[in-house]
């Protein structure tokens, strides 16, 4: 789906400018179908997030509020895992923020497509995710980029929040969650999230392994939250790589598996 991506052309051709509202007909049906597939995949992920978070012991309002205000799948999973697994609030926020720092790069990449008014920019900014950035950057002209941004952005926001609420309500109905093995789900989800990075990067494997050993070894003796932050010492295992050809940093994350194929939250 997201193959054949183009880097955003910045053109000032007046015919290429967008005015007024976005319409569904601004996008080819193939792109609309791709968006629908991602919406369906994200629905499953959202239900899982809501259910696991509540089953892990968080009050219902935490996953629901997080989804509305933070609105970033992987950061929500890691924050909820830290909160339920005794990682502590500081480690939860720190991990989430580090994960979401990549959103700044996406934001720079799609800024042209939000619209001209400040209201559109301020609202649109909240809708920037890996998925919307991928859809925007895959469109050939300014008009369809703006349409792709708002259609995928509003669709994803609606689907994500509804699905998390559905999952959270289902999770509260489960009762004794140890019996269902749901405590294994969070670490497994995090493993699925880091898998592409571990697959691709020796530095990620080395630093991750050292960090994990440090964190696990420190857990019996340090207060909750500290071991995970201490794991950042694992970064010393990083090795400088030879200089690579220049790449567009914003284009990198979408070279991984498309959201439709894996359904991995982003």
């Amino acid at each position: 789906m997201l193959r054949g991506m183009r880097s955003p052309h910045r053109t000032d051709d007046p015919a290429d400018r967008t005015t007024g509202f976005v319409r569904l007909s601004d996008l080819p049906s193939g792109v609309l179908r791709d968006i629908a597939l991602v919406l369906a995949a994200d629905f499953v992920v959202g239900v899982s997030f809501g259910a696991i978070a509540v089953a892990g012991g968080l009050p219902l309002w935490v996953p629901v509020t997080m989804s509305l205000l933070v609105y970033a799948g992987s950061a929500q999973f890691s924050a909820a895992a830290a909160l339920t697994g005794g990682g502590g609030a500081v480690a939860a926020a720190a991990t989430g923020l580090l994960l979401n720092s990549r959103t700044a790069a996406f934001s720079l990449a799609v800024a042209d497509s939000l619209g001209r008014t400040w209201a559109a920019r301020l609202v649109g900014a909240h809708l920037i995710t890996d998925e919307t950035a991928a859809f925007v950057m895959a469109q050939p002209d300014r008009r369809s980029r703006k349409a792709a941004f708002w259609i995928s952005g509003l669709g994803l926001f609606a689907v994500w929040n509804v699905s998390v609420l559905v999952g959270a309500l289902a999770g509260s109905a489960l009762g004794d969650t140890g019996r269902f093995g749901l405590d294994a789900a969070f670490p497994a989800v995090l493993l699925a999230l880091v898998m592409p990075a571990l697959r691709d990067s020796g530095n990620a494997r080395r630093a991750g392994a050292l960090g994990a050993v440090i964190a696990v070894a420190a857990t019996p003796v340090l207060p909750a939250g500290a071991p995970v932050l201490l794991a950042l010492l694992g970064l010393v295992a990083m090795r400088r790589r030879p200089v690579r050809p220049v790449e567009d940093p914003a284009a990198e994350p979408v070279t991984g598996p498309a959201p439709t194929s894996s359904g991995t939250p982003s």
């Binding site: 939860a92 923020l97 994960l99 900014a125 294994a184 497994a188 990083m238």
Partner: protein
């Protein structure tokens, strides 16, 4: 509440600030690739540490064998590029079965 709410609000505010980078700084600033790589690697290290401690420990103690075994099943499924839902169900299901069999 309190710690939960503080965590959600801090994460929400910081994330929104990252998202505003484009509209506010567009054309004036570009994130160096090196910084980008370091942030990505830092996030990966934190995630691996979270999943390792989450899989192996409960409080300050060992969590028992069922949970890490389930996580391992989920990890193998993720490695084989299984769909997200299958990773979740596989990990939880394996742990549940092991507990049913009497493993702590």
């Amino acid at each position: 509440m309190n710690a939960y709410l503080a965590c959600v609000l801090a994460l929400a505010a910081g994330t929104y600030a990252f998202r505003l980078a484009g509209p506010l700084l567009h054309g004036r600033v570009e994130l160096p690739v090196r910084v980008q790589e370091l942030l990505t690697l830092g996030a990966t290290v934190l995630l691996v540490a979270l999943l390792a401690t989450g899989a192996l420990t409960e409080g300050h103690d060992f969590a028992g064998w069922s949970r890490p075994a389930g996580v391992l099943v989920g990890g193998v499924l993720a490695w084989r590029r299984a769909p997200f839902a299958l990773v979740v169900v596989g990990a939880a299901g394996a742990t549940a079965l092991l507990r049913l069999a009497g493993l702590p």
